[in-house]
């Protein structure tokens, strides 16, 4: 089956999710949510998942109005956000976390706070929630971008909301931190950083993408290995699950849209969600 680029990215992220640690749905990162559900529905049914502080939630359909209600149905426990984050984030039990920043640079610093000077920014962004702590403490960190440009992958972020340091395995062990890399996943390829001595290098290229396009559209220096594999493409089974069950409204495409098309898309999704809820028999 032909796949969309967001679907390929979802499948790449899903590979990192398993039952060796806890994965938590962070703040509005629909592409990541789809990845976690896909992992639960395929290779990692036992992966412990937390959404909205519903502990051990089941895999759910992604939508705009009732995903949270679904997460709470069938969860093993209801915790407060502090119980959850102390246990998982600070307690060294976090496996995979995705962030979707406005900017990231070659040190791994990311920005979800401001575009422009901090005191009088050009754009005041939402802020990072717990992402600075998460990025520091989890095992595997994935930053994803809906486009691969020098505006997002910059030489230096306008402001570092957060960023993992140290990254090197020895240094992290010494501090009692979980060991794992930082990845950047974009519509062109996958970049990885796993030591403090080196920056990001290309881990894989998506089908049809050449090295030059990646280097040219990256604002920081990039390691280019001699032999770069192609990113694995989605299977028919994965695509079927994503389109028909996990994300029938296509929320994972949000990160690939500008504000205007996103608004029109929201209208369309809401019309469909309304019709479905209206057609339900009363309780």
């Amino acid at each position: 089956m032909t796949y969309r680029i967001d679907e390929l990215m979802i499948c790449r992220i899903a590979r990192e999710v398993d039952a060796s640690g806890v994965t938590v749905l962070g703040s509005f990162t629909p592409l990541a949510y789809a990845s976690y559900m896909l992992a639960k529905m395929t290779h990692a049914p036992d992966a412990p998942l937390i959404g909205y502080n519903a502990i051990g939630m089941r895999p759910i359909e992604l939508n705009l109005t009732s995903a949270e209600a679904a997460a709470y149905r069938g969860a093993a426990a209801h915790w407060t956000f502090i119980e959850n984050t102390q246990t998982v984030h600070l307690g060294g039990r976090g496996l995979v976390e995705c962030v979707s920043p406005a900017q990231m640079d070659g040190t791994g610093a990311f920005n979800t706070s401001v575009i422009g000077p901090y005191e009088r920014p050009k754009v005041r962004l939402p802020g990072g929630t717990g992402s600075p702590e998460v990025v520091q403490n989890y095992e595997k960190i994935i930053a994803y971008f809906g486009s691969h440009t020098t505006r997002g992958l910059v030489e230096k972020v306008d402001f570092a909301t957060g960023g993992r340091f140290p990254v090197s395995a020895d240094a992290r062990r010494k501090r009692g931190l979980l060991v794992g890399p930082v990845w950047i996943i974009t519509p062109l390829g996958v970049l990885i950083k796993d030591s403090d001595e080196e920056g990001f290098r290309i881990e894989s290229l998506h089908p049809g993408v050449d090295v030059a396009a990646v280097v040219e559209n990256t604002g920081f220096e990039l390691g280019v290995p001699d032999d770069i594999p192609e990113t694995t493409v989605p299977t028919d089974e994965q695509l079927e699950l994503l389109r028909n069950h996990i994300d029938p409204f296509g929320t994972s495409q949000f990160d690939f849209m500008d504000a205007r098309s996103r608004a029109a898309y929201v209208d369309d999704i809401l019309a469909r969600e309304w019709a479905r809820a209206e057609a339900m028999p009363d309780a």
């Binding site: 089941r58 009732s66 209801h78």
Partner: protein, 300 residues
């Protein structure tokens, strides 16, 4: 002890200039009915503190009632950047104190324990600790010497929380998400809760494990059905995304925003519910809270 008060008396617990902790997180459980009442009463110069805000903080900024926000995120998520928060941040019209999320949670926790700070592991490359020296200080672990961050305690003058049910004593139960409401209730000097329904002590005592805030922490209990609307209060109602979308559209333009505010100020909370939640909308948002099947059910 009867702590029941009408919503109209909320302002007596929230003097102008108060540091107000807001319950809820993301698009859920924020004390929206309470905030609408503060807008009706024009209670201003507020310092709002909350880890994950959305329409709650944005609406209050838009109403001109906020002088300071302490937060780690304010966003309308799929419905865009929070328009008033964004403008206030860009134009520096209010004081913006951005903390990292778990540090802010830790600040509430330190407040709840009546100690001046709690330590947190260092934050890597984040610029936030250096940017907010009033809140973070570098300290050494007194046992190993490893560098840590001290996070200063935060004690709101009053916490505004929205819960599923409460009795007249103020024992509060949740059936769904509760953000950091229980911890915030312990850090605040006063706690005012709105609830979907007032129940008898028997109802509370039948399920004591659901009581997350005991009455001895609570100063006032206000009945406010749809008190988190248009945001969610699972499992009673899902997101009124249609109203949230209308809010975002109104907030985008000063003239439509003035009309939105004038409408809010001119009506009681009961009239608000009548206007914004006609029978079909009310039915849909209730159904949404139970519409979502989990995928193992759907594919079984």
């Amino acid at each position: 002890m009867n702590k029941l008060v009408p919503l109209e008396e909320l302002a007596s617990f929230v003097p102008p200039g108060s540091l107000v902790g807001l319950g809820g997180a993301w698009l859920s459980n924020h004390p929206m009915a309470a905030l609408r009442q503060l807008i009706r009463d024009g209670v201003g110069d507020l310092h709002l503190a909350e880890t994950m805000g959305s329409m709650d903080i944005d609406m209050m900024i838009g109403a001109g009632l906020v002088s300071k926000v302490t937060f780690s995120m304010v966003s309308l998520e799929a419905f865009g950047l929070a328009p008033h928060f964004r403008r206030a941040g860009q134009d520096a019209t209010i004081e913006i104190t951005e903390l990292t999320g778990l540090a802010l949670n830790t600040a509430f926790e330190a407040g709840s324990r009546n100690i001046p700070f709690l330590p947190l592991a260092s934050l890597g490359l984040s610029d936030i600790p250096d940017r907010q020296p009033e809140w973070y200080a570098k300290i050494d672990d007194p046992f190993t010497g490893i560098d840590l961050l001290a996070v200063k305690a935060l004690r709101p003058d009053v916490a505004l929380l929205h819960v599923r049910r409460a009795n007249a004593r103020g024992d509060c139960q949740y059936d769904g998400p509760m953000a950091i409401d229980p911890e915030m209730s312990r850090s605040a000097r006063k706690v005012v809760v709105t609830c979907e329904e007032i129940v008898s002590d028997d109802v509370i005592e039948a399920n004591p494990h659901m009581t997350k805030i005991p009455g001895f922490l609570v100063d006032a209990v206000i009945e406010a059905p749809f008190g988190a609307h248009p945001l969610t209060h699972v499992p009673v109602y899902g997101l009124d995304a249609w109203e949230l979308r209308d809010y975002a559209a109104a907030a985008a333009d000063p003239s439509t925003w003035q009309a939105y505010l004038t409408q809010l100020r001119s009506e009681s909370e009961a009239e608000y519910r009548e206007r914004v939640l006609p029978p079909d909308r009310r039915r849909v948002v209730r159904n949404l809270a139970r519409a979502a099947t989990t995928l193992d059910e759907a594919t079984a």
